[in-house]
Symmetry: C2
Subunit: 607 residues, 2 copies
């Protein structure tokens, strides 16, 4: 059975030594005033979170996979054994309220801490973690654009975890393309709306873990314009609450079936049928897409965390197995047994270091983003808020796609370390692979993330956000180009960053040149995001290596933590970062090789 | 539900136009005399095989995944619904005898045709295909080194499919490292041996599809030397046959349990307990490893075929979905619907073309290898046999590892084309991913294949086999460097081939320089195999493109088949082949980045 130990030491290293989180949070009155900026306190919270997750959540992971969720004839859904009990403890300990607004019962902790705990939960049990995870998305949207009335009625219950939330976007014919959804909203004339339609792929859509479920639903109000400009956001509770928050009548939303999935079996992925269900408008009419994106950005980082968390736990278990499994003899021998631990073999080390390098860089990116979100939401200086918000917008698609792609690949490589045993369910490695696969698909496929990055985040503002980041990198590179330890990394990084700029320019020019411009963006996007991801990870690895070398020089490396950082950085720059060479070539090749003859190559006949 | 259409047109193109199979087989008396060299006949056999596989085998694929195999308390195993009936038809139609020796009831067809059918079967239903597939391995070993008595008693039953075979190698503590197996053989003094021990991961190890099962078992004869030099190969039948071939008493080999696996659920992966089971020596005492390798090479190509077959069927279904699924609007629009087929979007085309390019090159490699095996086994000219055998030895690890890695990646990308629907079991795409994953692991992990290639096949003979292949490539490159159509490909290929040579030289020098030499080989192997694989695929794509351009120029491209070849070749060289740039860099980085501090990085304490 797999094991898990939360990497709190590394989390604290990133927060405090790389990001200077304590200082940054102290500059934000919201946290200062709530007494949630103190890093010692935050450290203790993380330690406690680790203990809870390791002992209460992780042991349920294989049970959840095996049992799955079961729906009865009435549409009620039973979650796997132990899921509800663990959730009750989770609520009772206040974890659902961690980074929520104190006005609604929250603890007002930074998002930084919530994201760290998020990583732990997804490592331990991603299917379980999606129940509170989806609630967090619903909380964010409602908190941002809901009316005071809705907020007062719903938020305290979501914050204390007695009610959970969902995001109802997808329909059978409409996934990426939300502009063509058919779910309808009719004005009841009493401040409520009748919602009718079918939503699919609704994570945590129906279950027995909470008293009530608050669905946030995209629907088209009668008479609204076609496309994304005619979509509104509605709140549809499973049970309609009375004014005092007690539960009233059952609403007209029913779970029609549960999907049979490749993984995340412990999470109920529901088909929800809305049959004139009573709904309340959230935010403004026809602004549903904008409002939903409040949730989507959080959900995208949350999905990226699944890649990180599953990569981490897969790596941990591969590492343990590699030290334990004796197979073949190394020269010189490293054990007195009939064979040596496979960790002695370079190719096994390559697989392990791939996991370590991607995971630790991903953690740095995630925590950097989380701290930026805290700054964006609460910093008193508007310019700082804007700057942080731009960085969040730019880096979110990278966090989602690059982290889930790497997480899946790390899970696959970690499974490979187990040889044949990796294919056997009892060892748990194949579950990590199956569970990790969905992260590349949902909350906008990674192809869509790439288009969001290149089309919307980079080209649409004329490269301003990119230039801002490039400036930061440039500055760091200039400061360190002569450094004896990281000078070589910084030079590689500087070249790649320059190349990113010139690649962007070329695509930007192509994009504006006539009809095929959009195709050039579409053709380049996925490779572009991967290239960009390496530039970001390279920057973070160079920074981490610099700090580690300084600590070693100062005689502070008692347990080898900093030595490990410097050696993992070297692995990253010599064995993973060179992927950029291939990507530069494939991006440069552009759309032409894809513009093949439709009939000859694909047998596709069209107008 | 997924569909499948055997790509017989492409198979015939490779066989006849690329490899000149008809002419080559006609030069081999064994086929000429058996009337199995005629390409028209072989074409008809392929068409009939396609019909059989599409209608009888493919419809059972999802059933097999869902039902799996079930073991009762006595150790009997029931295969999924329909598996036995399909196998009975398969036998009755003579397919188990296809390329077997006419002396034992075989049809004496070339291995070329058997490999083509192998691809079809793995596309249709890989779990089902493993039952006859394993029999083929047992047939090969027994045919090559068994005594006349054993051959006469067993081979006719294996050839007519009434008995199936297995390969019993792995034990709980010994997978890659067969030198440490513990299964024992004691001489009974009557020409038989008592076999005792436990074997795991035995594919098709116990089932209800055939009357008898012939286990080929690696065991250590009492008093034999330690390590691989003390291992012998034994034949252990489930039922001990009487001299007339009728079934006698039940032997002491029992299925102790079935593994719960990530995929290939329809195949029974058994733990087999041998308790003094009666066995017969196959070949010579203590030569078991050599004899087993007769099976292993066939099994490795067979495993490579799983990558090819699953890549092909995943690609076919992604292509169909991409034409059907309407999502987002393309400029200019390509349909009158509210959205356009997603195949119009360049990034979707990129995913599809990746599948097409890897699959068609893999098919060319597989059929080239199969024809080389026919030459190796039956050509009257010893020099030709030797030359073909060398090529088979060199290319087999590439076929196994490169084809299964690409097959898995193609399955994953094809699943991605489906968006969220790809994660749902009913669509069948996630089964392809799960089924494809094992190919990278079993029959020697792909890491082991890479060591076999670089260490044994390339370096151990001083690069002679490699130079032979490089000479072929060089000749082709020189002939075509000025070609207006493929000149650019040929130049890329020539450079990469030269680079492969110089990389090999550098690693070879490192390998001989002291204690860490073996580590340098181990560190480079996986990237080296991938680089080599691209050189081989590049060569095949350039050859296919040349033929296709010639046919187009001659006005022979009525249906666009050749145009598709030329455009897919271009995609390969511009979008996939550039991976070699990254691989060259990571190979060059060598072992140093992997030689990290064991305690600091991995927490691994050792002598």
């Amino acid at each position: 059975m797999p094991s898990y130990k939360a990497p709190t030491r590394d989390m604290k290293f990133v927060m405090q030594e790389v990001l200077g989180a304590g200082e940054q949070l102290a500059a934000i009155p919201f946290y200062k005033d709530n007494d949630t900026a103190d890093f010692d306190l935050l450290s203790q919270v993380m330690d406690e979170a680790a203990r809870f997750v390791e002992t209460e959540i992780q042991p349920l992971n294989q049970i959840g996979d095996k049992e799955g969720c079961v729906r009865d004839d009435q549409g009620n859904v039973k979650t796997p054994t132990g899921f509800k009990a663990a959730y009750d403890k989770f609520r009772a300990a206040g974890w659902t309220a961690l980074d929520a607004d104190p006005e609604y019962g929250g603890q007002g902790m930074p998002h930084l801490i919530s994201i760290a705990m998020n990583e732990m939960i997804t490592s331990a049990n991603v299917a379980w973690g999606m129940y509170p995870g989806l609630s967090h998305g619903a909380y964010s949207a409602l908190h941002a654009v809901g009316s005071d009335e809705l907020k007062k009625l719903y938020l305290p219950h979501i914050v204390d975890g007695s009610w959970t939330g969902t995001m109802c976007l997808t329909e059978p014919h409409a996934g990426t393309d939300l502009g063509i959804i058919r779910t309808k909203a009719q004005d009841n004339g009493d401040g409520t709306y009748a919602i009718t339609g079918t939503k699919i792929f609704i994570s945590a859509g129906e279950h027995d873990m909470a008293e009530n479920i608050v669905h946030l639903v995209l629907a088209r109000l009668e008479g609204s314009p076609a496309g994304t400009k005619g979509i509104s956001l509605f709140l549809v509770p499973k049970f309609i609450p009375n004014a005092d928050g007690s539960l009233g009548e059952r609403n007209g939303v029913v779970c029609g079936s549960l999907e049979h999935k490749m993984g995340i079996h412990g999470n109920a992925t529901a088909v929800l049928n809305f049959d004139g269900a009573r709904g309340w408008l959230v935010g403004e009419v026809n602004k549903g897409m904008n409002h939903m994106f409040i949730m989507m950005n959080a959900a995208r980082l949350g999905t990226g965390m699944q890649g990180l968390g599953l990569g981490e736990v897969a790596y941990q278990n591969a590492l343990a197995y590699a030290k334990d499994r004796l197979q073949m003899r190394k020269e010189p021998r490293v054990s007195g047994e009939e064979a040596d631990p496979i960790i002695a073999h370079p190719d096994v080390r390559r697989m392990l270091l791939t996991g370590k390098a991607y995971t630790e860089a991903g953690r740095a990116l995630a925590l950097w983003l989380a701290l930026s979100i805290d700054t964006e939401h609460h910093h008193p200086d508007e310019a700082k808020r804007k700057e942080a918000g731009d960085m969040v917008a730019l880096l979110t698609p990278i966090a989602k796609a690059f982290m889930t792609d790497n997480g899946f690949n790390v899970a696959v490589q970690s499974q490979q370390v187990f040889g044949g045993h990796g294919y056997i369910q009892e060892w748990g490695m194949e579950q990590f692979v199956r569970d990790a696969r969905i992260g590349q698909i949902y909350e906008g496929t990674n192809g869509i993330q790439a288009l969001d990055l290149l089309g919307r985040k980079v080209l649409m503002d004329g490269g301003k956000k990119l230039q801002k980041l490039a400036g930061t990198l440039q500055e760091f590179a200039e400061e360190n180009e002569g450094d004896e330890n990281i000078g070589d990394y910084v030079n590689q990084l500087g070249k790649a960053a320059q190349q990113l700029g010139s690649i962007t320019m070329v695509i930007g020019q192509k994009a504006m040149s006539g009809e095929e411009g959009a195709d050039e963006v579409n053709a380049a996007a996925v490779d572009y995001l991967r290239f960009f991801g390496h530039v970001v990870y390279g920057y973070l690895w160079a920074r981490m290596a610099k700090i580690a070398h300084d600590q070693i020089a100062a005689g502070n490396d008692k347990d080898g933590f900093y030595l490990a950082k410097t050696q993992t950085a070297k692995f990253y720059f010599t064995k993973l970062f060179p992927e950029t060479k291939a990507l530069a070539a494939t991006i440069k090749a552009g759309n032409e090789p894809l513009a093949v003859d439709d009939m000859a190559v694909f047998g596709w006949e069209h107008a």
